[in-house]
């Protein structure tokens, strides 16, 4: 029982990070139809920029906020410099552009930072809490709480603000959005900034647990993509549930089978979902995209 709980804790913690990556995929996909495989690089940037700025003497919270800003700016640049000029390219062409961008960002990071692994101090110490015989790190609570805060924040943004509704309108019907006076290009740029910021937050929250380096983005992008597939790409709630589910599947797989298979599980999930549930496990409400 304690073991099961332990796997749940670690699975949900990692899963929350996948959920945030999948949310980034979803936000960008809905607004612009682009599947952004550079999404993992935002997570890397969040961790690495915070590490670098903290090492340069900045207080951790300031460094973290700055890192989120950097990732958002990189998101904007990705849209303006790589995606927007290729408007009208095929979906596969756009995917290749995002893969190219991710290689580019990784290359820059390798030069600006280094190739080492880096750690951030846990925000509230390293003393684990005991829960029913299992333990959970305070940092895991930060990850879960931060993810929950982002989900709530996004909900408020999309449901309660006019600009959030304008992004949703752009996602639902681009032509009608333009004809309502919405600058849809700006809404797409905003989506890239938002996805960048969310990815960076994920990277900052999880770095004290998993460490970070210039190349953590690749695997995270694939895991986040698998999570998005699991939840039905384009569905924000599905992205979150898919992320948590993938984290749990990995934790239990690594625990009961072998940790050697852990990273393979995401690929098995992608394949199974593609073959068996092409619209994702959650599927999409019919009214969502008309």
């Amino acid at each position: 029982m304690a073991e099961v709980l332990q796997f749940c804790f670690s699975g949900l913690t990692v899963g929350a990070v996948y959920a945030l990556v999948a949310l980034g995929f979803t936000i960008i996909y809905n607004a612009s139809d682009v599947v952004n495989f550079a999404q993992g690089e935002f997570v890397m940037l969040g961790g690495m920029v915070t590490v670098a700025l903290a090492a340069a003497g900045m207080p951790l919270p300031v460094a973290a906020v700055a890192a989120v800003g950097v990732a958002a700016v990189v998101g904007v640049a990705l849209h303006r410099l790589a995606i927007e000029p290729a408007r009208g390219a095929s979906p596969v062409g756009l995917i290749i552009i995002t893969i190219g961008a991710s290689i580019f960002i990784r290359g820059i990071a390798q030069v600006v930072f280094d190739k080492q692994f880096h750690k951030l101090p846990a925000f509230s110490g390293d003393t684990p809490f005991a829960v029913l015989g299992a333990t959970i790190l305070p940092q895991s609570l930060w990850v879960l709480g931060g993810t929950a805060a982002i989900v709530v924040g996004l909900h408020v943004f999309f449901e309660r603000t006019l600009i959030g509704k304008a992004v949703a309108a752009t996602a639902a019907n681009r032509l009608a959005a333009r004809l309502a006076g919405i600058n849809t290009t700006s809404m797409m740029t905003l989506s890239f900034a938002l996805a960048g910021a969310i990815g960076a937050v994920a990277g900052i929250l999880v770095t004290p647990i998993t460490l970070t380096s210039y190349n953590v983005g690749t695997l995270l992008a694939l895991k986040g993509f698998a999570a998005g597939m699991l939840g039905g790409i384009g569905n924000p709630l599905g992205a979150v549930l898919g992320g948590l589910m993938l984290g749990l599947i990995e934790a239990f797989g690594a625990g009961y089978l072998s940790s050697a298979y852990k990273d393979g599980i995401a690929f098995v999930v992608i394949l199974v979902v593609l073959f068996a549930f092409p619209r994702g496990l959650i599927g999409k409400r019919s009214a969502e995209r008309v």
Binding site: L162, K165, A166, A168, A169, A172, N173, L175, A176, A177, R178, L179, A180, G181, I182, N183, R285, S286, A287, E288, R289, V290
Partner: protein
């Protein structure tokens, strides 16, 4: 108010408009009729800025708008209700009306929404429903309502009655007549050419990307060539 001069545009290699000129004066209802594929939708798209032009000029209220992005033309008061009831499926009716006023900064938005509900009681009943779940007629009313929330000076309507039951068609035409009474200028594209010309001050007939006839609604309705080729009479 609107002056289109020698406009040319193409979709790839398909030339859709080959030098179209047309004028709409303030307060008029102008009908644009023509066969399928003649270029009616394309003409509305170049006016609202969704479709770029390759040659010619478009002036609105004395200014050249050729190079303005679509959302800037909305800010100038050009509102386009596109063909096929383009609504935001997952968003509710009220969200559509708020988004219709997206560029407005005045304080009358809430009052305008209430006025719209008074004109379209069925939208009020469905105010919190997702647009994707509304009937075709309600979606068309919503698309028009959303455009009206943008305070149009010129309203471009693309086949607003298409696919609607006869009673709803009458309702749409009533709405258009009301719009004229409130001072909104209308450029109307309609399959239902007889009904459109009957309420229009003037009309244009477009054929394979060029205007071939024009005149007052009555003159076109009585023109034997127009009657035979476009009105099916």
């Amino acid at each position: 108010m609107l002056a289109v001069e020698g406009v040319v545009t193409a979709y790839g290699r398909i030339v859709a408009l080959r030098g179209v000129s047309l004028d709409v004066s303030e307060g008029e209802i102008v009908a644009l009729i023509g066969a399928n594929g003649a270029g009616k939708t394309t003409l509305l798209r170049v006016i609202s800025g969704i479709q770029p032009i390759q040659a010619g000029h478009i002036h609105f209220a004395g200014e050249s708008i050729d190079r303005l992005a679509a959302h800037r033309r909305v800010a100038k008061g050009i509102l386009h209700v596109p063909e096929g009831r383009q609504v935001f499926g997952p968003l509710c009716v009220e969200d559509h009306l708020r988004l219709g006023a997206y560029l407005r900064k005045d304080a009358a938005i809430a009052a305008d929404i209430e006025r719209l509900y008074a004109r379209f009681p069925r939208l009020k009943k469905s105010r919190h429903r997702a647009a994707g779940n509304l009937s075709g007629g309600e979606q068309q009313m919503l698309a028009i309502g959303r455009a009206l929330m943008g305070r149009p000076r010129l309203l471009l309507l693309d086949e607003p009655s298409m696919g609607l039951a006869p009673m709803l068609v009458d309702e749409i035409f009533d709405v258009i007549i009301d719009l004229k009474a409130t001072g909104i200028t209308v450029l109307l594209v309609e399959q239902n050419a007889v009904a459109a010309l009957a309420i229009a001050d003037r009309g244009y007939v477009i054929e394979t990307g060029a205007i071939v006839h024009s005149g007052t609604g009555r003159v076109l309705l009585e023109d034997p060539k127009v009657r035979a080729s476009y009105l099916g009479l």
